[in-house]
């Protein structure tokens, strides 16, 4: 099976294939609409001033109670209507979906993956049949992450050299991989297919090549692949190969 994500068309947001990506898109569209309205209103008033008041005597005023009230009122309106709305929405989205690692991990059939970023590729590790990381049946892949459709995926990220950033444009998420710490990201795919994984943080000359492929499989296809790969991994396991033993005990963040 060769990885061949399809190109995107047009200048819009990439095709959304995640369960929660629409939340980001909706906020983006809301903000876009709001700033368009603000921009048009202010620009219209300016253009009106340019055309209408171009010449002729200027009004002598440092601002009246009414005009200052207009400023304050407009600012308050935007603050509550736009900023406030964004804040409340985002608070909910982060807590319930994007940073809700606890319930993602607890979900039925959740897939846990460890990813080790380094210049310039992404190594992924699956726990294998025993459900534990750092054992001989761990499935290890390079620049090739496979996940099943319809279940939450939780990735713990590490980096051995410099900061990278795991970026899944089609799932609207990203997370930095920082040397010395383990960070987390969770997402859930909705549509099977092949999508791109990008590095979003400048990480050296070949940053532009730090590309990987995310393959979203049907649940049983994923199960079969993982079982086969686990078999292969067990056979290929080399206790001497220290390089390949970068896995860590799955980190529990929540008590």
């Amino acid at each position: 099976m060769t990885a061949a994500p399809l190109p995107e068309h047009g200048y819009g947001l990439p095709h959304d294939v995640s369960v929660d990506g629409f939340r980001v898109d909706e906020l983006i569209h809301f903000t876009l609409a709001a700033i368009t309205v603000i921009f048009v209103v202010v620009a219209a008033s300016l253009i009106w001033s340019f055309v209408k008041h171009r010449s002729g005597p200027a009004l002598y005023s440092h601002g009246t109670r009414g005009s200052i009230g207009l400023v304050v009122g407009a600012v308050a309106l935007v603050l509550v209507g736009v900023d406030g709305n964004l804040f409340i929405h985002t608070l909910g989205d982060m807590h319930q979906y994007f940073w809700n690692f606890k319930s993602a991990e607890a979900a039925q059939g959740a897939v846990l993956i460890e990813v080790n970023a380094h210049q310039w590729s992404w190594d992924a590790r699956y726990p294998g049949a025993d459900g534990r990381f750092g054992t001989p049946d761990d499935v290890i892949t390079t620049d090739d992450i496979r996940i099943p459709v319809g279940v939450p995926v939780v990735v713990q990220l590490a980096s051995t050299d410099v900061i990278h950033s795991l970026y899944l444009p089609n799932l609207r998420v990203k997370q930095d991989a920082v040397p010395g710490t383990i960070t987390r990201i969770t997402f859930q795919a909705k549509i099977p297919g092949e999508y791109e994984i990008a590095c979003a943080q400048h990480c050296g000359p070949n940053h532009y090549k730090m590309r990987a492929v995310l393959t979203v499989l049907a649940p049983d296809a994923f199960r079969n692949w993982l079982a086969d790969a686990g078999e292969d991994a067990r056979r290929a396991y080399d206790p001497e190969d220290k390089e390949a033993h970068w896995g860590w005990e799955w980190r529990r963040f929540e008590p």
Binding site: A4, P5, P7, E8, G10, Y11, P14, R23, V24, L27, T31, A34, I35, F39, V42, A43, S45, S49, F50, H53, R54, P57, A58, L59, Y60, H62, G63, I68, L70, V71, V75, V78, T90, L91, M94, F98, S159, D161, V162, S165, Y167, P169, R172, V173, Q175, V178, P179, G180, T181, T183, R184, E196, A198, A200, Q201, P205, N206, H207, Y208, K209
Partner: protein, 597 residues
């Protein structure tokens, strides 16, 4: 006839004889006006360097792997004129650093700060003229360090302008180039701090009699608040640079982690904290002077008092205070604690309120005005436009869940170019066109100025809008070859067209260069004392260019900075403006005018 207050000010700042030797007059000068020109030259020169580097980036995105015409033959000969990935990372790193620290900062703060502060507040010079001179020469040293870095073994710095470790330690960018550039950041920080101390002290101590804080021209407010931010936060950047230098050269482990760490190593995120505690205020360090300039130029050319002057002043003060509390929005994706992230998000959203007050006050100043569309005014209005776009697109990035997608994409690049590059640059150009007659005694050509304006305004808008669009479609920043990714394939045309606009924008700047030299060395037409017919002290209380001691007599200020279209003034003088220190005929002298504010 002078008042008692003027006599005191005269006694505190006596007139010194101007220096006579060439060196003291033009090179090691302590005259703030000469130092301002030195900063202007140094800044404009590096603007050209930074702009050229930008063209290289754009070339790479329009025609990846193809030899660069002209510049490639000059500087990339060993590579056949083609930009390679290692060269490319040095290009965008130094482009960012040069533009921010070594081009826009010296023009906006070094030049205008130095030139305008004493003249606009009615002082004979800065509080510490010698410190002022040291500030410039330290700055020049930092520029030389940057230039030197290009000629080192592995080339210049390549870790991005943000210089994140571990990439910026020996782990990611060995070689003396990166070290020299980090040292240059430290040295330029020392220069900025010296300048800031001078500016802050000068505004506190040297205001002419009658020049209360609420009578300061808004340019002064902008520059003063910027100086305060510089004094507070540039040292934090200095500490980050210092620790990074120690990590690079003495093997310490502040920021090194991962495989090359000793005993657990340090914390790469620590650097980001230090960097952005400085870095976010830096955005305002660059925009506040531009806001200030607009706050004066717009009423000047609208022939109308600034709308709600105090509101704008307080908005700028609030922005200054808040700017230190929002920096975390640059680090939403580093795995910071959710609570901290949400706090930073809240403050970031709140900072839009004072910004809106500033913009709406401009709009209301223009309402029912009598607008003169001279070149400085055109640039000022364009600044309002690009700052509006920049500010509004900031809303997306203030918000964590949209940042999940947009962080580290070209959208961020477009956003901060609209604010930091477009608004600061066009704002600086507003200042250059407006104060050129005062600095050099001659007025820039209006026709060429307008041509330059249209190239710049349309060019900048199209280029940075192209960046926003690319980022909206998901393109990451800092890619040597974006088209390695299939999901960006469809953006080839967009990137290429953005590049074409960028080339046009760059070419258009030579209209300015031509205008600049033509005016400076061509036939001289003296600009006159007050060619724009405005009110502030530098225009109404001294000549163009001002003498060495600025004011023959230190003025006594009797009114605010934007007294336009006052019917009373028109009745008395027949003019539509009254200078800040002007005593109107028939009025009972300064005391009465002062009493009326």
């Amino acid at each position: 006839m002078s008042t008692a207050a003027q006599a005191l000010a005269e006694a505190a700042q006596p007139i010194h004889p101007p220096p006579t030797s060439f060196w003291r007059q033009y090179v090691f000068s302590i005259d703030h006006k000469v130092i301002a020109k030195q900063f202007l030259w140094a800044g404009l020169l590096f603007l050209l360097v930074g702009g050229t580097l930008a063209m290289l980036i754009r070339w790479q995105w329009a025609y990846p792997y193809r030899p660069v015409p002209v510049i490639g033959q000059l500087f990339l000969r060993e590579n056949g004129g083609v930009i390679g990935p290692a060269t490319y990372q040095q290009i965008f790193t130094t482009h960012g650093l040069i533009m921010i620290f070594f081009a826009v900062t010296p023009v906006l703060i070094g030049c205008f700060g130095n030139f305008l502060i004493p003249l606009m507040i009615g002082a004979r010079d800065m509080a510490f003229p010698k410190l002022n001179m040291y500030s410039f020469w330290t700055f020049l040293l930092s520029q030389l360090l940057v230039l030197a870095s290009f000629f080192t073994d592995l080339g210049s710095a390549g870790a991005g302008w943000t210089t994140y470790p571990p990439l910026s330690t020996n782990v990611g960018t060995p070689g003396p180039g990166q070290t020299l550039v980090v040292a240059a950041i430290f040295v330029t920080g020392v220069s900025s701090t010296m300048g800031a101390i001078n500016y802050v002290t000068t505004v506190i101590r040297m205001r002419a009699p009658g020049m209360g804080y609420m009578r300061l021209p808004l340019t002064m407010w902008g520059l003063w608040l910027t100086a305060i931010l510089n004094a507070l936060f540039v040292p934090v950047l200095g500490s980050a640079a210092l620790l990074l230098l120690l990590d690079r050269n003495f093997g310490t482990q502040f920021f090194v982690a991962g495989a090359s760490a000793v005993r657990g190593g340090g914390d790469p995120i620590l650097f980001q904290h230090l960097f952005w505690i400085f870095g976010h205020p830096e955005v305002y360090i660059l925009i506040l002077p531009a806001w200030g300039i607009l706050g004066d130029v717009i009423p000047f050319f609208a022939r109308k008092p600034h709308h709600w002057y105090k509101g704008t002043v307080w908005a700028m003060v609030i922005v200054t205070v808040l700017s230190a509390m929002v920096y975390g929005h640059h680090m939403f994706m580093t795995g910071m604690s959710p609570l901290l992230g949400e706090g930073f998000m809240l403050f970031t959203l709140l900072i839009s309120a004072p910004s809106m007050v500033v913009v709406l006050n401009w709009a209301l100043t223009l309402w029912r005005a009598s607008i003169r569309f001279d070149t400085p005014m055109l640039f000022a209005l364009a600044t309002v436009f690009v700052f509006g776009v920049g500010g509004l697109t900031g809303l997306f990035l203030a918000d964590i869940s949209m940042d999940l997608y947009l962080h580290d994409t070209m959208f961020v690049v477009g956003h901060f170019h609209f604010t930091m590059a477009a608004a600061s640059f066009i704002g600086a150009m507003t200042g250059v066109y407006f104060w050129f007659p005062k600095i050099f005694g001659r007025k820039l050509d209006e026709r060429l100025g307008k041509a330059h304006f249209w190239f710049t305004f349309v060019g900048i808008t199209l280029v940075f809008a192209g960046q926003l669009l690319a980022g909206y479609a998901g393109q990451q920043r800092r890619l040597f070859d974006p088209f390695q990714y299939t999901f960006i394939q469809g953006l080839r045309g967009l990137n290429r067209w953005t590049s074409f606009f960028a080339f046009a924008l760059f070419a258009g700047q030579f209209i300015f260069v031509w205008n600049f030299f033509k005016t400076l060395f061509g036939k001289a037409v003296p600009a006159g004392e007050n060619p724009w017919q405005v009110t502030t002290l530098e225009w109404t209380a001294t000549g163009s260019p001002p003498p060495f001691h600025n004011f023959d007599r230190i003025p006594e200020v009797v009114r605010g900075p934007h007294e336009f279209s006052n019917p009373e003034v028109r009745r008395l003088t027949g003019r539509d403006f009254a200078g800040q220190s002007e005593v109107l005929p028939g009025s009972a002298g300064p005391a009465l005018a002062a009493a009326r504010g």
